[in-house]
């Protein structure tokens, strides 16, 4: 089951996490993907690294979120996913 955090409001991001697969897979949907896609993915991956998450499929729907918002939403979603697993 996926764990989600965030909203579709402007300046926010909707992150859903499934703790499965091999490695970290980030599927990003964003109008800003050509400009900021790489930065968004780095923010998600850094958060996973900080939380010692090695395997996850992460769907990211971005609505113009800043870096700190992406990190926070990822952190909350990962924590919720861990809670489901445990």
């Amino acid at each position: 089951m996926r764990a989600m955090c965030g909203t579709e409001d402007a300046s926010d991001v909707l992150v859903s996490v499934l703790l499965e697969g091999r490695g970290i897979v980030v599927n990003l949907k964003s109008k800003n993907k050509p400009l900021f896609g790489r930065m968004i993915e780095i923010a998600v991956r850094e958060t996973c690294l900080e939380m010692n998450i090695e395997n996850a499929i992460i769907e990211v729907k971005d609505f113009g979120a800043l870096d700190f918002v992406i990190k926070a939403r990822t952190k909350t979603a990962v924590r919720a996913a861990l809670k489901q697993v445990n």
Partner: protein, 298 residues
């Protein structure tokens, strides 16, 4: 010495990302990111995570940043403190503070967290929210319970709810409580912050309430809308006539060497220590509001 002014405390819900990076553009003296009443139960953890990351990433400049944590007796309060302090939070507002013990419990928790994270012990300061009749009665003990307490605030909505009455525009039901909080803050040497005014469209009523709070001795006002910030700052900013008179009083007092006692007459009015202190307060407010004062150091 330039005292930190707390004329305005702008409330912003911490579960809305946009507020976390736009609230400072309204230039309040303080922002309070709210994890308590403004945040739905199922968003408490997400809001805390947002605020933690915001604190790590955003430079709020001269604006003093507070977090209103959840009460320590809830499932979230202690975790709020454990997450926010290591992220850099230096000011927090303790809701529903009713006794000296509430402050001391938080003091113990903060000391433990500061030690664990190599943060200077005592560097995290606290504003205690007085929101019940019991809190009002104990407000002096609360304000003096720890050197961490730099201000106490009055919350009228919970106060009237607890008292079993309604809040009116005239505010008679709050007079004793507000006066008590302001007096006790003054005795303890901390700032007193007045309650919010919920009707954001009623500018006239808001102005009246801020003026009344200032006259009771409150140092500032809690604001729930950016439009209220400028109105409060105007009321708390001395006019040029008062500034000029204050400069004259302080200069005359220094020339006559009566700053520690004695009486002189300036423009036909008696000047003694209380008058000098008032003049200093006016200049302090003026400097805090960004007004240049030439010739007199305060």
């Amino acid at each position: 010495m330039k005292k930190k002014l707390r004329r305005t405390m702008l409330f912003c819900p911490a579960n809305k990302p946009k507020h976390l990076f736009t609230s400072m553009i309204y230039e309040p003296d303080c922002i309070i990111f709210d994890l308590e009443d403004a945040v739905p139960f199922n968003e408490k953890v997400a809001a805390r995570d947002l605020l933690v990351e915001a604190l790590k990433a955003i430079d709020y400049g001269q604006v003093e940043v507070f977090a209103r944590i959840n009460a320590l007796y809830t499932d979230f309060g202690e975790d709020d403190v454990r997450a926010l302090v290591p992220a850099g939070l230096k000011r927090l507002r303790l809701p529903m503070c009713e006794s000296e013990k509430d402050v001391k419990d938080l003091d113990v928790l903060l000391t433990e967290i500061e030690r664990a994270h190599n943060i200077e012990v005592g560097s995290v300061k606290v504003q205690c929210a007085i929101e019940t009749p019991k809190g009002v009665v104990n407000s002096l003990a609360i304000a003096q319970a720890s050197p961490r307490v730099t201000s106490i605030s009055f919350g009228a909505e919970d106060f009237t709810r607890t008292l079993g009455t309604d809040r009116t525009k005239a505010g008679n039901e709050l007079f004793l409580a507000r006066s008590t909080v302001a007096l006790n803050a003054n005795i303890a040497g901390v700032d007193a912050i007045d309650t919010v005014y919920a009707d954001v469209k009623d500018e006239e009523g808001f102005i009246k309430e801020v003026e009344s709070a200032r006259n009771l001795g409150f140092s500032g006002k809690s604001c729930i809308h950016p439009s209220q910030v400028e109105l409060v700052h105007k009321i708390y900013t001395p006019n040029s006539k008062d500034i000029e008179a204050s400069i004259k009083i302080i200069e005359a007092a220094r020339n006559a060497d009566i700053e520690k006692g004695g009486v002189i007459v300036v423009d036909g009015k008696m000047i003694d220590i209380p008058v000098i202190a008032k003049a200093e307060r006016i200049l302090e407010l003026a400097v805090g509001a960004g007004i240049q004062i030439g010739g007199v150091s305060i």
